[in-house]
């Protein structure tokens, strides 16, 4: 394996083992490419959901009753997923400008840099050239690099893109929720609105990920839930991040593993 041609010094986010594995695979690092997106989150987007389910009053108390409801905050989810897609697109534009076939070791940082009304997405990775790649295609991207990327190809997949999906459920407590939440109904009753909110956020995020995948598979998924209380409502956001891959080759089952005992420290 000859060393990469010293046309121009390259920058990369690869670790030394990943760098060595990349060279063995024929991948030549071209540069550390990045994409940014910074946006304002309008109050309407942040705090408004559209109802998907109502919970009629169940407390049978005298006085004003408030109907609880569960909703989705699609505006907010669209903003964040759009922000990720735009930042990713900008990173891929940089990679394409360098003549890269793909971007490996993609890392995504997402934050509210000033307050909850701002959104920043930073996507970066190492653009790589692959000898023999046909020019003109959109570069692929993956969170994997080095041996892990090699392993992915070994089991018959090729990388497509990194992906981010999310769903925010908004729960406004009404008499029903207060009734169960206060424990006055006793122990062991299903607190349906809260359970529905948890399920809506998670199922919505998985559904969004499946829609993004469009026939591909999403591997290496990290799934997490953020909870927040704002203006009397509870917001549950479930996020999924992973690498979209396509099966390009059928392979026989892997050989049974050999059990080993590591005598190292």
């Amino acid at each position: 394996m000859s060393a990469p041609e010293p046309v121009q010094a390259f920058s990369s986010g690869l670790t030394t083992p990943d760098f060595m594995a990349s060279l063995s695979m024929g991948l030549r690092p071209l540069g550390l490419v990045q994409g940014y997106y910074f946006a304002q989150v309008s109050s309407w987007s942040a705090y408004s959901g559209y109802p998907v389910r109502n919970y009629p009053c169940a407390c049978y108390e005298v006085g004003m009753h408030q109907t609880g409801w569960l909703g989705r905050v699609d505006d907010l989810d669209r903003l964040w997923t759009g922000a990720h897609a735009t930042a990713l697109g900008r990173m891929l534009d940089e990679a394409a400008a360098l003549g890269a076939a793909g971007v490996v070791g993609v890392t995504t940082d997402m934050s509210h840099p000033t307050n909850e009304n701002s959104c920043e997405v930073h996507v970066y990775g190492t653009a790589v050239a692959v000898p023999g790649a046909r020019p003109g295609g959109r570069p692929w991207s993956t969170q994997l690099a080095g041996q892990k990327l090699a392993k992915l190809v070994e089991i018959g997949f090729v990388p497509t893109s990194v992906a981010y999906a999310r769903c925010t459920a908004m729960l406004v407590e009404g008499c029903n929720m207060e009734y169960y939440g206060s424990g006055r109904s006793g122990t062991g009753n299903v607190v349906q609105p809260l359970q529905d909110a948890h399920e809506l956020a998670r199922a919505g995020a998985i559904e969004a990920a499946r829609a993004l995948a469009a026939g591909a598979s999403l591997y290496g998924v990290t799934m997490w839930l953020d909870e927040a209380e704002r203006y009397g409502g509870s917001y549950l956001t479930c996020s999924l991040r992973g690498s979209l891959v396509r099966r390009a080759r059928s392979v026989a089952p892997a050989a049974p593993p050999v059990a080993t005992v590591n005598l190292g420290p």
């Binding site: 024929g26 076939a101 295609g137 948890h198 998985i206 598979s217 799934m223 390009a248 892997a254 059990a259």
Partner: protein, 296 residues
């Protein structure tokens, strides 16, 4: 890319041909799909490879949620077990397991591996959330399942895919995720004892006894759970032992793990190879020693 019956790193070719991998990546954008099926998985690639060796593959990230109410006033100072909290946990756990099984069944999975369990006890609501990857059997050329075990209902296990494969190769299989929980109030010390002990380093026997009581009750629930699912034992028990944040006189003890059963005629002893790594950490050079001549 051509179809190959043998994985690049298969038995005939132990080391992967990295140049071949590079050629596959060169064609990544243009390669035709070889069987499109949407799957999501939070397993690592190593785990997917291992599962494949026992005839399983990931289908979808699956979850189950159970939220149940806790009656008013159960967290007041008192004595003994907070029965309502224990009952609420059991109810939330059952709902979460049923929901997770339902989702696994919907996608045609034989079970769920790597289940992560989160327990959140609040004054009036107990929430149990379970998240894992539903796995299904891989079919061979004749559409026969490569996974030999038939389950009546989807198995749930919090073991990693690696542990699952090691178990399966030895003839053991997971049955269900079982748990026990107990919430016990530490009795107050007598005023005289509290004053007398205020300047001493002394065991608070009321808290020690509370911990023992909580443990006994949780373990009894766990044991009952293992027997109910027909398991021979439980592996990798996790113990959450903490004071309840909003009622710190109450000790929460939750223990859970995977009930397993040996389905083979006898235990298959794995043929274990010893590995001595030669890539130990190198001795680091401490630059600070230069300033003081290593006298520090």
């Amino acid at each position: 890319m051509s179809s190959s019956p043998v994985p690049l790193g298969g038995p005939q070719n132990v080391e992967a041909d990295l140049a071949e991998v590079g050629r596959a990546l060169a064609e990544a954008q243009w390669a035709p799909d070889a069987g499109a099926a949407v799957t999501t998985s939070d397993l690592s690639l190593d785990e997917i490879l291992l599962l494949h060796s026992v005839g399983l593959e990931p289908v979808e990230v699956a979850f189950g949620v159970g939220c149940t109410s806790v009656a008013f006033g159960v967290w007041q100072w008192g004595m003994g077990t907070v029965v309502d909290a224990r009952q609420a946990f059991a109810s939330a756990l059952a709902t979460a397991k049923s929901s997770l099984r339902g989702r696994a069944h919907q996608v045609g999975a034989v079970g769920v591996v790597g289940v992560d369990v989160q327990v959140d006890m609040r004054p009036h609501v107990c929430t149990v959330v379970m998240t894992g990857t539903a796995v299904r059997a891989v079919l061979d050329e004749r559409s026969h399942s490569r996974f030999r075990v038939k389950y009546h209902s989807s198995f749930l296990c919090d073991l990693s895919a690696r542990d699952f494969v090691v178990l399966a190769n030895a003839g053991w299989y997971p049955l269900d995720l079982v748990a026990g929980a107990s919430y016990v109030q530490a009795p107050r010390r007598a005023m005289g004892d509290a004053v007398r002990q205020s300047t001493q380093n002394v065991e608070l026997s009321n808290f020690t006894q509370t911990l023992y009581q909580a443990r006994e009750e949780a373990m009894a629930d766990l044991q009952r759970g293992i027997e109910q699912v027909g398991g021979t034992g439980l592996l990798d028990a996790k113990i959450l032992d903490r004071p309840v944040p909003f009622a710190r006189h109450v000790v929460e003890l939750v223990v859970y793990g995977t009930a397993v059963k040996m389905l083979a005629a006898e235990h298959q002893h794995p043929d274990i190879s010893l590995v001595v790594p030669v890539d130990d950490r190198v001795r680091a050079f401490e630059a600070t020693s230069l300033r003081t001549g290593g006298a520090e």
